[in-house]
């Protein structure tokens, strides 16, 4: 496992992240323009969705698909409750902030998922193509749990059908699922046509994206004084607990080692797109610096550098490859 951690640490992807992190901490003016970052993120979502769909089309629909989706939704709903309890225990932040943070950990980080698929590929493991759909299914339910936790505290939250539409139709869910469906519809033949766009250069593009994630995480760390020690501990402990829950869920369903690692990763990762946007609208009184810093500057790096090799080792050990 140490070997694996080291190999992971020395991958261009992780090193690109570290470069961005270092540059931001040293206050370099290195920056990726917003439009470019958004463009790359569209590319990644499209590619990962499409490849998932094409792989599903090739290997046939698995009977476990429905069950895994269900498990994903259950995880997304329940992990915030666990997170909330843990945060109240470890950190002194307000109920509202704690609930908002917890919501992020029930949802998922798609870049962490993408990084996990490249780690899997390097390890020569395959996984169920529909894990992409599971990722999409896990984005939103956690928001509901967070809002329920907040409303229990009788704090005001603004929740409307309108906001729900906004959450469920947010660009990244739509693009991921849409590309997934296109992948299913066009299958191996469709993939072969755009392979040299979405497969071959994928890891290189991911490097640039992780460079940017590093810059963002580094800028976040420079504001990390909004986090008390308990909160930082949470940012490291929660992914491990989440991954554990993901492992259990995977055992119930009976996923492959690759699929298990991906479900652990999804459970371990914290949202930085869908959930923050929903929180800003529904719970403006929650401090965005807290949840964004925890998610982007603590948990994301932890998962990328240490989490992924851990989840892979555990998955391989428990499931066998």
């Amino acid at each position: 496992m140490l070997d694996l951690a080291l190999a992971n640490l020395l991958s261009p992807i992780v090193l690109s992240f570290v470069l961005g992190l270092g540059a931001a901490l040293a206050r370099s003016d290195l920056a990726v323009p917003e439009a470019v970052a958004k463009g790359i993120s569209i590319y990644l979502l499209f590619a990962i969705g499409f490849k998932g769909g094409a792989s599903l089309a090739e290997h046939g629909i698995d009977l476990k698909l429905g069950l895994t989706l269900l498990m994903g939704v259950v995880l997304s709903f329940s992990l915030p409750l666990l997170g909330f309890a843990l945060l109240r225990l470890l950190s002194g932040m307000s109920r509202t902030d704690a609930a908002a943070v917890a919501g992020h950990y029930g949802s998922i980080s798609i870049v962490t998922f993408v990084a996990a698929t490249t780690v899997l590929a390097d390890a020569g493991l395959s996984s169920e193509g529909y894990m992409v759909a599971v990722a999409a299914a896990m984005e939103a339910p956690a928001i509901l749990s967070a809002l329920w936790l907040i409303s229990r505290g009788s704090d005001q939250t603004e929740m409307s059908a309108d906001l729900w539409r906004e959450i469920l139709l947010n660009g990244s869910i739509v693009l991921l699922l849409g590309a997934f469906v296109i992948g299913i519809a066009t299958g191996a033949e469709g993939l072969s046509r755009i392979e040299s766009f979405i497969v071959s250069p994928f890891q290189g593009v991911l490097c640039l994206f992780l460079l940017d994630m590093g810059l963002i995480a580094g800028r976040g760390l420079r504001k990390a004084d909004v986090l008390d020690r308990g909160a930082i501990g949470f940012g490291v402990l929660m992914p491990l607990l989440g991954a554990g829950a993901g492992l259990l869920a995977s055992l119930v369903v009976g996923l492959s080692a690759g699929g298990t690692m991906l479900l652990m990763t999804l459970s371990a990762s914290a949202s930085y797109i869908a959930v923050p946007a929903a929180m800003r609208v529904a719970v403006p009184q929650a401090n965005p610096s807290i949840y964004l810093t925890l998610s982007l500057a603590v948990t994301f790096p932890f998962n990328l550098v240490l989490g992924l090799p851990i989840y892979l080792t555990v998955a391989k050990t428990v499931i066998g490859s």
């Binding site: 920056a31 990726v32 323009p33 917003e34 970052a37 958004k38 993120s41 005001q156 603004e158 947010n170 660009g171 940017d212 994630m213 810059l215 963002i216 800028r219 504001k223 930085y272 797109i273 869908a274 959930v275 923050p276 946007a277 929903a278 929180m279 800003r280 609208v281 403006p284 009184q285 401090n287 965005p288 610096s289 964004l292 982007l296």
Partner: protein
């Protein structure tokens, strides 16, 4: 050149709230505005920058409305309901406009 009294209202607001704001403006019968991007800034909730922004949760925009003076109160009421619980600032200046029939 003939100009006419008007108010210039500048509302700096989170991008996620933009649609809600413009809907409120429409309800208050304000039909003209322009949205300008904001690159970054600073306020009571700290400073931020749009660089490499990937989260949809942050980032602000500026909505500029030119209106007839008598519509100001309706506009401010509408805007206030949206920004009330949210971060952001509202600034009104006296202005003169050409082609008053447009406002």
């Amino acid at each position: 050149m003939q100009t006419h009294d008007a108010k210039r209202v500048e509302i700096t607001i989170e991008q996620v709230m933009l649609r809600r704001l413009t809907e409120a403006l429409e309800t208050a019968d304000v039909t003209g505005w322009s949205v300008l991007p904001v690159l970054g800034g600073s306020g009571r909730s700290g400073n931020w920058s749009r660089d490499g922004q990937i989260s949809r949760g942050t980032g602000m925009v500026q909505v500029v409305c030119l209106i007839r003076p008598d519509k100001l109160d309706a506009l401010l009421d509408a805007a206030f309901k949206v920004v009330e619980r949210h971060i952001g600032v509202v600034c009104v200046t006296d202005a003169q406009v050409l082609r008053a029939e447009r406002f």
